[in-house]
Amino acid sequence: MKRLLAATILACALAVPGAAAADEVAVGVVVKVDTREIYVNLGGQKGVVDGASLRLKRPVMLRHPVTRAPVKDWLPIGTATITSAGDKLAMAVLDGELRAQVAVGDIAEIYVEREEAVAPPPRPIAPPPDETGPIPKVDADTAAVLAVWRSLAGQNLDRRIGAWEGWLSANPQSPHAAAIRTDLDALRAQREAASPRRPTPGRATVQLAHEGPTRGEAGRDLPLVFVVDDPSTLVSASLHYRPSGGTTYQRLLLRREGGMYLRATIPAAAVTAPGVEYFVEAAVPRGESGAAFASSSAPSRVTVEPPPAVLEKFAGTRHRTRLSIMASYMDFANLDDRAGDRTDRVGMGEIDVLYRLGGTIYGVRAGFGSYRGVGGFANRTWTDVEPAPERGFQYGYAEMELRLPVKKGPPVGAAGRFYAGVGEEGLALGAAGRVRLGDPDAANLSVGISAVEELGYFSDLRLETRPDARLPVGISVGVTDQPGQGDLGVRLAADVGWRALSWIQPTLRLSWQGRTAVHSGVGAGLGVVFDW
């Protein structure tokens, strides 16, 4: 307050050049800012002496609210006294708060009082900002904007912001409102940059009457009304709201109606469980502001019931679904160069859909598959009398993957799959399980085992990684007695995918498998994954 008074005194002195013809205002800039003191490029040569009054201003570029032409203006920073004046430089020791606001390049004005009555040349008076261009005739709305604009020349940021907020809250539908909002954003950004501030902890003198709701409904607008006891004490007011327990508030300018009513609506998106908190900060005509209803540290609370937990899991529609199609062929004998028919191969195709629920139940999958195998033995030779045994399985499956609660380290998932299908002898059932260490969409290591009636079992250890974001690679080693519960075999497989687009990923599989050193072969597979 004292600083404002002093600034005003100095401003008045500077604004009345005719009052002392011998005196002058030396204008320079701040050239250095130190821990406690600043230096300006004005010294004894300019008549500056110890004890001279110093005014500090911040040059700013604004836009005219009507013409939108750029306008040079300044913001008062504060006043100080020259502590020590040298020949070319002068030093002023500032208090900590003022010092924090001053930056190199700020304008320094020092009132220099001279003994001789040397009439200084008339000081050119810069035209007021709003007179940069003639505006012949304006409507009442524009006139009101210009009146506010005129009143703000040389005012500090808080005053400017408060004034424009006040105008905006009373004239939200004005054709100038959009421009003013833009200017307000710029002014707030400057204020934030100059001295980051949070809702003023103090209380505003204005009194608001308000009956606050105790509960709200998730996803539904929450309209609020505040009644100003004495409208003349209020310039503007803002509603600050946040989710209960949040750290920062969102700010919403309260719309002023009929002078005494302030209205705003907490948007539906912000009305979420467990609740929302709010308070009102008001600005008074002097430019000060403070909490007028509740406060940032003791906000008013509205309880919001959480949405139904189960349905919430099923609510998402984007990035939840994956369709996978895979066909593969494994031959255990095409590298077996022994004489005779050693047929031993498996072909299978699967198509499934994964729906990701997130949370503990990470995903649910349903799919269909067809499996056909011939052979299954390492050292048998097939003849017309003893043809290679055939196995087939047409099946469907359901799978659920759980994300186990792990506090540290990579995520751990466990999936269980149930098979139901028909084989050579009718209905056949099966089951599979897999434990995964790591995110299924990133690097992970998993071990799995499956067993199906008539076919046998298959177990594998699989490593998936992404050398490149678009290049998922999987390497697995597995053991199986499929296709017909025959001899044990080993399969080494490598899958290489290509994330061509965000929603499609074709995959190529190459494999080597064998049951003995001589009974082995290579296989291949193709797949495609669609994500949406």
Binding site: V16, P231, L311, A420, V422
Partner: protein, 358 residues
Amino acid sequence: MRTTLLTSFVIAAVAAVAAPAAAEGVRHLPPAEATANEALRLTALVSRASERTLLLRYRPVGATTWSQVEFARGDAEWIATVPAEEVVPPGVEYFIASAQDGQDSPEFASAEAPHQIGIYADAKELRRRRDLARAGDRRSRARVAGEYVSYGTREAGEHTIVDHYYRVDADFSYRLLAYPLEEIRFGYTRLEGYVPQSFRAPPPSCNAGETTPGCRLYAGFKVGGWFELGFGLAEGVRLDLRGIVVANQESAAPGARAELRTGELDGNHIALGFEVISDVGGSGFFRLGWDTVPELPMAATVEVTDFPATSRATGVRLMYDLYHPFPNGLRAGVRLGYAARDQRVGGPTAGLSASFDF
């Protein structure tokens, strides 16, 4: 000179930003909440009351026309009351205007921007509203679905023996939303088919043709009626229990069906269930539904069944359903699938469905 400066300072007033003029006339503090089905009393302090008539215009949220009531003088305030029958969830919106010399002028809020008071019902009511909102505020559904299921044809000598049936369901459901009972449903089912009169392979009698006695079996029933109760165990968890009575080849026979489902039937969900009908067969199924492609919800179902005759081997059915909901409540669906009793022989499944919500 300093005196001059100080004088100048005094003359130079600090530019003050003019505050909006104080509104005079009507001071109204809106209540935060209201209780459903209780009259809502609104009060105002009115100056120069003799010069104007203060009017409250209100309507339930969602209504299109305004009702009007005049403020009347109370002890210290003016009072207007919204009748209890208008105070219903989700809320009431209103504005206050004064009529003076035949002219209306807004005093608080306006027809374009009325103030809304939320009326928050109890948990059941909220759930009911959410359920209704998900159903597009339609409580009833009429549905018809038909499918043809073939397990393929099997060779018997020079003849091919069919193993197939068709099924038609027509039903009507009503969302009671009287929790835990969410829905009641009753319907008609017809299921008829011909299957070999054996466990799996056609009997030898079929070698002489499928119309030979002892070759094939007429299975199923022409008339089946059922009644189903849908229990909402929790919001989003549903258990449907159905009692079935069918008139089969011999007599009336009972049946039952149950489905446990999480999620939304018409959207993303998983379901597990079974159906058993005496002499006709039984089935157990798992279904995953997903509504992630706009306007095209889908479902995949794996079913283990011996329909349409318990004498037949249990097979597996794999089904894919695709639906398209229309804005008027109509929902059309198509089903494609595969059915087999063993891995050698299988056949297609095809079906159509339509439902209408109102």
